[in-house]
């Protein structure tokens, strides 16, 4: 029943390459989070606006991002845009797909956070002579960030896990891509993917730990 010899030694020889891949994975996830947060803030404001076009766009973005698989979103960006003559690299498609997804999920979180900031504070800030932008920047957003900090951390972990989808559209320099490259060369599927799993686990844990440290440092008061 069990005639399989594990070849960990040869698999571990791939570790430096896989660590380099892990770095690419982390960078991609971090970039997508940065863009995602910015877009999500814009979406949140858009969904609150009176202009039906802006509101409709915001709502459509959020509902599409939340109701279709992220793999599907990456597919549309990679194959769909390709058929329209816009040829994007698989990394760009992956980054854009995850960013789209992140923005949708975060916008929903931000909306929840925004509800938790009382309306009266905005009015108070406005009557103290702050402009609308100043109110948002100095009153609303700082409180908002406190509330959405844990959802943000979660989303960051999610983003890291989602980057593994890049391999399906042919990305070969992130962690899963590198692993898959070694896998097709040696057919030692289990060993390589087990190491990749360990690395992903460590990345996820590191993010949670850093977030906890940041929360302790940032939200003392």
């Amino acid at each position: 029943m069990f005639d399989y010899t594990f070849q960990w030694r040869s698999a571990l020889r791939a570790l430096p390459d896989m660590l380099a891949g892990a770095l690419v994975t982390f960078e991609t996830a971090a970039l997508s989070m940065i863009f995602g947060v910015l877009i999500a803030l814009a979406l949140t404001v858009m969904r609150e606006s009176k202009n039906p076009l802006l509101r409709g766009t915001g709502n459509a973005w959020v509902s599409i991002a939340r109701n279709t698989p992220s793999l599907f979103q990456i597919y549309v960006l990679y194959f769909g845009l390709g058929s329209l003559g816009l040829h994007v690299s698989s990394w760009i498609a992956l980054l854009a797909g995850i960013t789209f997804n992140n923005a949708g999920y975060l916008a929903e979180n931000f909306r929840g956070g925004l509800k938790a900031v009382p309306d009266t504070q905005i009015r108070a800030a406005r009557s103290l002579g702050m402009s609308a932008f100043q109110t948002y920047r100095m009153i609303v957003v700082p409180q908002l960030l406190r509330i959405v900090f844990y959802p943000l951390t979660n989303q960051m972990v999610w983003a890291v896990l989602m980057t593994s989808l890049g391999v399906i559209v042919g990305l070969n320099n992130d962690l899963t891509g590198v692993t898959q490259d070694y896998n097709v060369k040696t057919f030692r599927t289990f060993e390589y993917f087990a190491i990749a799993a360990v690395l992903y686990y460590l990345i996820a844990k590191a993010i949670v730990a850093v977030a906890r440290l940041m929360a302790w440092r940032l939200f003392r008061y």
Partner: protein, 216 residues
């Protein structure tokens, strides 16, 4: 003029894929709900003793689903289990769902105020009765939105099983794309099917939630 080689048969093929997606989702959710309920109760009622369980389940939440699929699929061949790719998909998705549902159940059970439980015990209910008639009904209402979200996210995650060779909705759309070479159209139709499925599940859930609130 708009013309396409997308035929009615292609659409039926997509719907078949959607059916596989739904089957996968329901099996995974069934497995995940049963296991998650059990583990979640354990986590809430015996927090110390079930700590190792929490670590194990945490692994399933911190490793990409794609890698879990590949790992389990190759483990299956190594051990010599003779099960179909579909079962592999169900099992991996089920364990994944269980890992999430455990946390949902745990927070639901912990959301029941301790005073309520003490009151029920003082009224003469046994530990099991307290669990059955007081804690579970309250926890269920707290946990239900989370469970619904989990169903929706598992349905979306079934798209990843294409990597181990199951033809579900997204893979079906891919097959059609390679034949008729109109990716945007086919993907939009597939996306629409996903969207409608999610929407229907979400609506049904919202209705159920409302009905429960009326009876409270």
């Amino acid at each position: 003029m708009f013309s396409t080689s997308f035929t009615w048969n292609d659409f039926l093929f997509l719907l078949q894929g959607a059916w596989v997606t739904l089957q996968l989702t329901s099996w995974a959710i069934l497995l995940g709900t049963v296991a998650g309920l059990l583990f979640g109760l354990l986590r809430a009622l015996l927090p110390r003793a079930s700590l190792p369980l929490a670590w194990v389940l945490d692994v399933f939440r911190s490793v990409p689903l794609l890698i879990q699929f590949v790992l389990f699929n190759s483990l299956k061949s190594i051990v010599g289990l003779n099960i179909s790719a579909f079962s592999v998909g169900c099992i991996v998705l089920g364990v994944y769902a269980a890992a999430y549902f455990t946390e949902i159940v745990r927070s639901g059970v912990l959301a029941v105020p301790f005073t309520t439980r003490r009151a029920s015990r003082s009224l003469g209910l046994s530990y099991l009765q307290d669990l059955r008639y007081i804690v579970l009904p309250i926890a269920m209402r707290v946990a239900f939105p989370g469970w619904l979200n989990l169903v929706l996210s598992v349905m979306k995650d079934t798209a990843l099983v294409m990597w181990i060779g199951i033809v579900e909705l997204l893979r079906a759309s891919q097959t059609i794309v390679t034949r008729i070479q109109e990716p945007m159209l086919v993907l939009c139709i597939a996306g629409l099917i996903y969207y409608v499925m999610s929407l229907v599940v979400a609506r049904l859930g919202a209705r159920l939630e409302k009905r429960w609130q009326e009876n409270d």
